[in-house]
């Protein structure tokens, strides 16, 4: 099963999996796009003084972290139909499930980041007359970003690979194509090629975070 492939076959395979990367990257970027702001909202909700809001958020995070994403995808996709006969697009379902899931993980990271910024800065900003939202967006958030980069990089790297779960409800991304080819060709080479694709994605993400860290290196965390 590790027999030689000729170069043409390999190129073909790379082209095929490359075509699946479109979907993989769409899932990846759309999840980031929505999960980050949603995660911030959840983080703020969990920090809220309103006990009901904080309690609901806590339950939500527990449920999300406590159950496999695979189940969450199935619920998001089939739940609305069984509850009220609503169906919708499978790709939308994947994005919703991924956003709900990653937002919970991001939220915990954001919360740690927000809480690690010295209270004194908030107080100083307050005595300067700044409003809560102004303090959050112009004083805390920019610093939170710097603090959470390492933790976020872990989650984002995990996301690159988790995209493969999309195939559960029939969204064909790169890894599904690789599995199909592996099964047709009776070979694990397609899976190895998929591994290389992931490795490249992971490398790019690592590099991007590295760049971001460098860019934010102009000031020191106090």
């Amino acid at each position: 099963m590790l027999e030689k492939m000729n170069i043409d076959q390999l190129l073909n395979l790379v082209k095929l999996l490359g075509s699946g990367m479109g979907t993989t990257l769409q899932i990846f970027f759309l999840t980031m796009l929505f999960a980050i702001p949603f995660g911030i909202i959840i983080a703020l909700a969990k920090n809220s003084k309103n006990k009901i809001v904080a309690g609901i958020t806590k339950l939500y995070i527990l449920l999300i972290r406590g159950t496999p994403l695979m189940l969450q995808i199935i619920f998001v996709y089939f739940g609305p139909y069984y509850l009220c006969q609503i169906t919708y697009d499978r790709f939308t379902a994947i994005i919703i499930a991924f956003v709900l899931n990653y937002a919970a993980y991001f939220a915990e990271i954001f919360r740690t980041g927000i809480n690690s910024i010295p209270k004194g800065q908030e107080e100083a900003a307050f005595t300067l007359g700044m409003k809560k939202s102004q303090i959050f967006f112009s004083i805390q958030l920019p610093q939170v970003i710097k603090r959470i980069l390492p933790a976020m990089s872990n989650e984002v790297i995990s996301l690159t690979k988790t995209t493969s779960l999309a195939q559960i409800i029939g969204v064909t991304e790169m890894f599904a194509l690789a599995q199909k080819q592996a099964s047709f060709q009776f070979s694990i080479i397609p899976l190895c090629v998929a591994g290389v694709f992931y490795l490249i994605m992971c490398g790019v993400v690592t590099l991007a975070f590295h760049q971001a860290e460098k860019k934010l290196d102009y000031y020191k965390i106090v």
Partner: protein, 240 residues
């Protein structure tokens, strides 16, 4: 038998590898026992040969590696014959055969294959049905080929109406339909795939063991044992 040194006289273990979630060939019942058509045949065969049967669940994705490394003696799992598979494995004669059909909702407006043009058809990822559909002329005329990891999700999605039919083997579909009391409409296919011819597959070159199993299978058939087992599972004789 069992492991790489397949023919030591004392070790009479015969290890079959299977995906234990492939009804009705091999799957877990509510008591977690692996049961099914293939299991019954393999049992009968081992009884005849005086071997001890060992049923090893494997991951379908890794079946070639499993057999190559000698963890299992054969794949016995409703294993449909294809030219590629014939090339990669040493296989027995066909012991069961079935055709692939469209399974759709009872109230579907589709009556024949041509009605599925432009529609969404589901297959299992990496299955023969997928390969056949992608290769066939008809496959180019359907709306979208949706691949699922398992038939459970595919059939659930059929119910929600997001796909129009599941293209699967008659055996699997009929089994689900009868055992779960579903009222699927079954529509014949033509010009998409050859009938599934299920075989037992051995490591390439392991003809010795293959011949032994082949001969025993033939004897079982002659004795009417295969027919008996097939009728138990399908109500008809699908053995060849």
């Amino acid at each position: 038998l069992g492991g790489k040194n397949a023919k030591t006289e004392e070790a009479k273990t015969f290890t079959i590898g299977l995906d234990d979630s492939f009804p009705p060939f091999g799957f877990r019942n509510e008591n977690n026992e692996i049961v099914g058509l293939d299991i019954d045949i393999a049992k009968a065969l081992c009884e005849k040969k005086g071997w001890e049967l060992k049923v090893q669940p494997i991951s379908w994705a890794a079946k070639e590696q499993e057999i190559d490394s000698g963890n299992i003696d054969c794949i016995w799992n409703g294993f449909g014959l294809t030219p590629e598979r014939e090339e990669k494995f040493t296989v027995t004669d066909v012991y069961v055969s079935s055709t692939n059909k469209f399974f759709t909702k009872a109230d579907s407006s589709c009556q024949k294959q041509d009605d599925f043009k432009g529609k969404k058809i589901a297959v299992q990822t990496g299955s023969i049905q997928q390969a056949d559909m992608e290769k066939s002329e008809f496959g180019k005329e359907i709306g979208e080929l949706v691949q699922y990891n398992d038939y459970l999700t595919a059939l659930m999605d059929l119910e929600t109406g997001r796909i129009d039919a599941v293209f699967m083997s008659e055996i699997s579909g009929t089994y689900i339909k009868t055992s779960k009391n579903k009222d699927y409409k079954i529509i014949d296919s033509e010009g998409i795939s050859e009938p599934n011819r299920d075989v037992v597959a051995f490591k390439k070159g392991n003809t010795e063991l293959k011949d032994e199993v082949n001969q025993a299978l033939n004897e079982l058939k002659q004795e009417g044992k295969l027919k008996e087992i097939s009728e138990k599972w399908f109500g008809e004789d699908l053995t060849r």
